[in-house]
Amino acid sequence: MDLPRTIKYEADRVAGFGKEVMSVPGCENLQSCIQCGTCSGVCPLSIYMDYSPRQVMALTRSDFKNEVLRSHTIWLCASCYACTVECPRQIRITDIMYELKQRAIHDGIYPKKFPIPVLAKEFYKMAHKQGRVTDNWLATWMFLKTNWRAALGMWRLGLGLIKRGRFSFTYDSIRQKDQLARMMQTVDNLSIDALTDAKPKRKASH
């Protein structure tokens, strides 16, 4: 039997992680979190989360990198911004969740076979390549990569969309794909370290 340890040791922390997150534009106010739990209270998805939003805020600030980046919580956030507008300390919790998602994808430590990060990555790839996203194909790819049985459960919906003329059989795309590719290449070519407040430096806490 696999018995996970439920209490964390101080040694489990990744020193500097909290500071790094709080240096990203929009995430600065995390420092002033008073742990009131308003975010967890208003979150419509918190009843499904392994760590509540309040706990994610505390864990992030205290350098528990592995716990937050492996949590389901960051992926269950549907970006409804209820927490952000209710927070009495003006912490942009939704944006912090985005920051944590980016780091989990960057480090490749999101829960495997979990469909939400897979959807995010497929969305990113399609938007990048085509310039536009064809939603029904995006969903199809996500199911094939995570749980093809779930795709079978969606046949009725797919058929319904086809019948109602809401299904696109081809990929929608922009004409000037090369232009968009050049723009993205420019971003890739810029030295990340030079962008002190635009982009977190990802190496420090590895």
Binding site: A78, Y98, P117
Partner: protein, 289 residues
């Protein structure tokens, strides 16, 4: 009045009835909308989860295209596009380094953006530019007997409440009343529909949609009015799954622009209502009455 128009991927895909109804209704009101040539995906919430700076670059290309087109303002009917474009404007305004990266990327495409294209929602334009009096003048079939639950969803009022109240928005309520319909009290008007979770994790996602549908019925509504293609999809497309999991909560969800079209005397077909899963016999009967 002439605006640049950013349809976004959904309005060309599963949410095409939104565009099909919005364009003729705005035309009838004398509002011209010119589609941005070769616009690209706004980035939505999913792209931001992978790379926020690139998401800003994607969105900025559209802002630059709008600036080049030359109309004073850009209309974005999809809530996600509306939020992402506005959020990008905030990042560009607040962060010199984001501005720097975006500027360099745009330069590669012979584009530029000075930061001066307001991004507005069609509902905002209807209420604050066109005015409800103009809308009322065009109503030929008042939506009598229609009990509407006004559902704004989340991203139109959060985190930026630009044209309506964050906690109790009323623009959609007032529009429905101007069309002759009655509005039911609907405290869940800005609760999350589940977003893309309905497709990825049915249990949490569909529960969010179920709660909204059930509450609308409990409040005596016979139709839900929405202004977001993802909300429309979630509240309309998953009834069989929701029924299997919990109980049947059959109520149609339509775009505000479709209600306007019906009130203006346009047909259900012209408004793209045949594309929805839950049809509205009640609406047709009451509209004709």
């Amino acid at each position: 009045m002439k605006y640049s128009y950013f349809p976004g991927c959904s309005l060309k895909g599963t949410g095409r009835s939104y565009e099909e109804s919005l364009l003729p209704v705005f035309k009838a009101l004398g509002v011209e909308m010119e589609e941005l040539d070769d616009w690209n995906c706004c980035g939505a919430t999913a792209y931001m989860a992978v790379d926020e700076v690139k998401a800003c670059v994607m969105a900025s290309r559209n802002l630059a295209l709008a600036e080049r087109l030359g109309h004073a303002e850009l209309l974005a009917p999809c809530s996600a596009c509306y939020l992402v474009l506005n959020k990008t404007k905030h990042y560009l305004h607040d962060s010199a380094s984001v501005r720097g990266v975006v500027g360099q990327a745009l330069q590669q495409a012979d584009l530029s953006y000075s930061g001066n294209v307001p991004v507005r929602h069609p509902l905002d334009v209807l209420i604050n530019e066109v005015g409800l009096d103009e809308v009322k003048k065009r109503v030929r079939h008042p939506l009598k007997g229609l009990k509407v639950a006004p559902y704004y969803g989340c991203q139109i009022v959060r985190p930026y409440a630009t044209f309506d109240d964050q906690y109790n928005p009323t623009t959609l309520d007032r529009l429905v009343e101007a069309l002759g319909g009655s509005v039911v009290r609907f405290p869940l008007k800005t609760r999350c529909c589940g977003g893309s979770l309905t497709g990825t994790l049915p249990e949490p996602g569909l529960l969010c949609s179920y709660i909204i549908l059930k509450e609308a019925l409990a409040r005596g509504a016979n139709v839900i009015a929405t202004l977001c293609p993802l909300c429309q999809f979630n509240l309309d497309g998953y009834h069989d799954k929701i029924t299997r999991k919990w109980d049947p909560v059959r109520i149609p969800t339509v775009y505000f622009s479709q209600l306007m079209g019906l009130a203006f005397g346009l047909s259900e077909k012209e408004m793209g209502l045949h594309r929805h899963f839950i049809e509205m016999p009640a609406l047709a009967a009451s509209a004709a009455a």
